[in-house]
Each structure stands twice: as C-alpha cells, then as structure tokens.
Amino acid sequence: MSNGRFGQHGGQYIPETLMNAVLELEEAYNKYKDDPTFNQELQELFNEYAGRPSRLYYAKHMTEDLGGAKVYLKREDLNHTGAHKINNVIGQCLLAQKMGKTRVIAETGAGQHGVATATVAALMGMECEIFMGAVDCERQALNVYRMKLLGAKVHPVTSGTATLKDAVSETMREWTNRIDDTHYVLGSVMGPHPFPTIVRDFQAVISKEMKEQILEKEGRLPDAVLACVGGGSNAIGAFYHFINDKEVRLIGCEAAGRGIDTKETAATLNTGKLGIFHGMKSYFCQDEYGQIAPVYSISAGLDYPGIGPEHAMLYDEGRAEYVAITDDEAVDAFEYLSKTEGIIPAIESAHAVAHAMKIVPTMSKDQIVIINISGRGDKDVAAIARYRGEDIHE
C-alpha cells in the first residue's frame, strides 16, 4: 500500500502521468519542512505579509447572549486576502519556488483559494492560472475580477456540475498537461499524498496559535473547538494541535444545504460512503454505482462531495464529531455574528457559528468554546441579500 495513509484513507489514486510529480513534491517537502532557512522565510511571510498571528478574540456579547460557555473567535478572517487559505498558499508557493517551478495552477470554489493563490503568485512573480466552476464564477463574480486584477488567468469550468469538484478535476487535467514548470497549489487537505499532509502542516499554525493564546488568556485548554468543513483545511488547521488533548472536543460543521434528508446537500460524513476520488480514499457523496453526487450548499466553499482523508480517519476513530448545518441555520448565524459582535463571517465559517449557537447555551459558564472564523463575509453579502429576497447584485 502507498504512503500517505490516514487509517484506511488517503493514498495516491492518480494517473501515472502525475506520479513522478507527486513523488518529487514529497521529496522536496521532506527536504524543506525542517530546513531552518525555509521555515524562517515562511514565518516572515506569515507575520509580515499575511498578518499573523491572527487574534483570538473573546466574544463577550455572544457569550452573554447565549448564556453558557465562554466563546472565543479565532480571527482567520483578519489575514491578508480575508481567509485562512493564505497560510497554505504561502507555504506551497514558497516550496514550489524552491523546486524551481515558475507557474502555479489552482482550483477554487468560493474564490478565496484562487484569490490567495493569485496574490502570492503576484508577490513571488509566478505565472498563475485558476480553474473555477462556471456556476461559482457567477456566484462570486467579484472574486473572479479580483484574481484577474492580481494578474491571474481565470478559466471557467463548464464540465459536470460546474462547481468546485469540476474545478478540481480540470486543474488535475491541466497539471497532466504541463508538469515541468508547474506546481498545483491544491487548496484543501485532500487529493493525493502528499497534499493532505502538506496542507495540514501549513494550516496547523491556526491551532498552534490558538493553544498558546488560550493558555495565555485562560490558563487552560478549551472544551471544544468548532470549524466548518468542506474539504477540511481550516478545520484540520484548527484541530491539529488539540488531537492529542482528548478532553478537547473537536467539532466539524458540514454543509447540509437544504437538509441531509434531501439531495441538495454537501454533508459528506453525514450522507456519504467510502470511495476513491480525486486522488484519495475517503468518504464521498455518491450513488450506489459510485457516481459522484451533484452536491449543493449555499456556500461555494463547502460545496464539495468529499472530505479530506485525515478527517475521515478522525471520524472513524470517533476523535472528532461532524455535524450538519443547513443553509437557513448558516444564514441566521451569519446575521447573528454580524449584529452581536460586528463581525461579518464568511458563509462557510457561519456554519461553525451556527453549531456554537446550538451547543454553547447547553454548556456551563466555566467552559470554553473556540470557533474558527475561517474567513470574512464581504464576498457573501450580495448572495445573502438575495437569499433574504433583496435584489442586490455586485
């Protein structure tokens, strides 16, 4: 069996054409991950360019209003480009540069990963091409323009459901076309090994900081950490340094869309089954013949039929819990956080806020919950307005 397994999950299910590329990437990553110069450059970009460390903010009004556990917000929305995506992109682009690559390609759903990739490519002087589902290009038109402004070429993907999964497929196809000078900056903890490990390591800075910050503020670990899950990069980043602290509940919030009892859902662990797709063995929304399901969520970033292999393992082991949050609940939470704390979260992150609104009141006042606010919600304002029946267009 191949490398890169998380329990029974993971692996390298990709065309032979790409095998040497992922093996080369693994070799390069193993060489640089403990290299002091590489890590110094990474740290400097994290701090000086992305604005790390991100704040751990005590949400006083939300805590008082919900009347249970103390609520902290990890402010990944305050990073440069407005989401956690930049952490991984800085890491991968730096690695690609060390490998002598001059061109980066990436998929994007909501556009956050595409914008982050275009941004770092601009910073590092790399050629950049982004693949985005045609439906998502429509939903997130402003982000498409933003990527172009940053010098990237954006390819709308019309195959399949024209959303995130099709963007991933198309980026993989493009990578088989041009490998020598090109690195695929995969945006989540998914795909073939070594991507789930590399992306997790670069995102793990979130829980590393969280742990230091909560110990400093409260002198103890939190009782629960909540994060939204599509492919699962912000969630694994928020969970990683707590995995061995068994007393900390880790809760991933999937997109239920219109409900897990409908076909219009993207809640992989709540509705999917074991399969092999996009380079990995994991859980996927699919029919009885293994055809991948056309999933749905109001959030373009969670609108993906699979989940990263490490989450699949944490699920199997029972170490993390995965709940499903509907569009309605997420939109309510989006508005709630905006009004109570003056923080407009990404609609993706609002899924985690929604679950906190359910469990915090049931917890005692001496307990602590941290919600990872993976991104800012400016990109979603027009879509939420339309959801509420207001005719606003970007």
């Binding site: 069996m1 191949s2 490398n3 692996g11 390298q12 299910y13 990709i14 065309p15 032979e16 054409t17 790409l18 095998m19 040497n20 590329a21 195959s159 399949g160 999964k165 099709d166 497929s169 993989m172 196809r173 088989t176 076309n177 041009r178 490998i179 089954k273 074991l274 399969g275 092999i276 797709f277 996009h278 380079g279 996927f284 699919q286 009885e288 013949y289 293994g290 055809q291 991948i292």
Partner: protein, 258 residues
C-alpha cells in the same frame, strides 16, 4: 492467468478501439462490438461511464455524460456484455475509474466480469502504488489488470513492467485523452524499457486519430489504441454510427498492418 489479451497480439500488430458503453445506447454498443470485431479489432476497450472522468478530454467526458444521462448502470453493462458474448469472442477489457469498481465491491466486480466473459480491466486512476488492492482480486477471477506507463514515468517503467499483465498501455503524450496532431514522445525508448524487464506486448494510446499516426505508433510498439476519434463518430451519427465506426476501424487496422 488470463492470456487471451496477450494472445491477441500474436497475430501481428494489434488495433484496439475504445467506445463508451451506452453511448448512444447499449443496443448500439452491442452492435459496435460485433462490427468492430469483424472490421479487424484485436482487443476492444469498453468504457464504463463515470461522472467525473479525470483522465479524459472533452470528447470522452461528453460520451460519459450522454451514457449516464440515460441512467445506464454497471449492472446494465454486465448484462450487455453477457449477451454480446454469444456473438463474438474478441478479447474485451473494461476501462473505468477506481470508484466505479470500489463502490460496486472489488470482488463482486471481478467475479461478474469473469462470469460475463470479460478479459481485462484498466483503471487510469490506480497507479502502481495502489494496484495491489485491485490486481490481486482481478487475478483470482482471471481478469488481466492492465498497467499504464506515461512519458513522465522514467525509472518507474521497470517496476511497472515487472508486475504488468495482459499488455502495457503506453500513454503517448502528456495531458488527457483526445486527438493530437503531433506525438513527440520517444515511444520506442519507453517500449524498450518495458521489454528489457518483461516479454509483454505494449500498445500506444492517447492522441491517435489517423491510420498513419496509428502505423507510426504501432511500428514502435505492438499496437495502437484509439478512443476519442471513434467516440467522435458515435457522437456525430448516434444510433446510425455502426457502419461508420466499422469503416474507421478497418482503415486503422489496414493502416497499421500496411
């Protein structure tokens, strides 16, 4: 050990056409198999449609969608093969994606394949590192698990060739399936690397659409595989495609034997 696929190369250079099952419908697929056999096909690749075929270009992606939109399932395809086996003994290999086989149950898939008379299986998203899970079961049911090598494979070719069965599928170019005007890869060197390791036939696929291209590829190997060019004919003529496909297969077979 299934040798029917390997034996198909003993008569000379082989021509291997590919079609997507159920494009435009399964009745036509049956007629195509029989007609291609009569037109000189030495092995036939049957694509089981998958919703997200990541190794395919637009032509075969669309064929997958055409087939799936009619609700065609893996079970329907097994039933079709069982029927067509009464009319032809041409070696047949499935070409599909890991999840189609995995979700069906690997053992159940291989058993049904054998029972209906299949000879081999190609899974383009299962590289050498991941093949054991599939290949061991395939072997138990006498299905040849066919491996691919690519222009980027380099030193990997040795190991892949050592464990290869049926024939080695040489991917001619970078990128996905689809017709190309130029194939610049040094196919001969790839084939030589395989042969140095194991005496097994090598057939070249990806990008081939004309008899002269097919001949050029087959001259450097043991045969040529053509998919997109045939699927284009199926797309153009729909249910009336059989004589056009048969004519094309005959021209290609004549071309590589010329």
């Amino acid at each position: 050990m299934n040798n029917r696929v390997t034996d198909a190369f003993k008569k000379g250079k082989a021509f291997i056409p590919f079609i997507t099952c159920g494009d435009p419908d399964l009745e036509t697929t049956k007629e195509l198999i029989v007609a291609m056999d009569q037109a000189g096909a030495d092995v036939i690749e049957l694509g089981i449609p998958f919703s997200d075929p990541t190794a395919e270009g637009p032509v075969i992606q669309e064929a997958n969608i055409r087939a799936l939109s009619q609700g065609i399932t893996t079970d329907d395809i097994f039933a079709m093969v069982k029927e067509v086996r009464q009319q032809t003994q041409v070696p047949l290999v499935f070409m599909t994606y890991a999840n189609v086989v995995y979700s069906y149950g690997i053992e159940r898939f291989m058993k049904n394949s054998r029972d209906v008379g299949m000879d081999g299986l190609i899974l383009p998203d299962v590289p050498h590192e991941e093949k054991a899970e599939f290949a061991q079961v395939a072997d138990d049911f006498d299905i040849a698990f066919i491996s691919l090598i690519a222009p980027t494979s380099k030193e990997r070719i040795r190991q892949i060739a050592k464990d290869a069965e049926g024939f080695v599928y040489c991917v001619s170019s970078l990128g996905v399936t689809g017709t190309r005007s130029d194939i610049t890869t040094d196919i001969k060197s790839m084939v030589d690397l395989v042969k140095a390791e194991k005496d097994i036939p090598c057939a070249v696929g990806f990008g081939i659409s004309t008899p002269s291209q097919a001949k050029q590829m087959a001259d450097q190997s043991d045969g040529a595989i053509v998919g997109s060019a045939i699927v284009k004919i199926c797309a153009k003529y729909g249910k009336d495609c059989v004589p056009y496909v048969a004519q094309f297969v005959k021209e290609m077979k004549d071309g590589i034997c010329a």
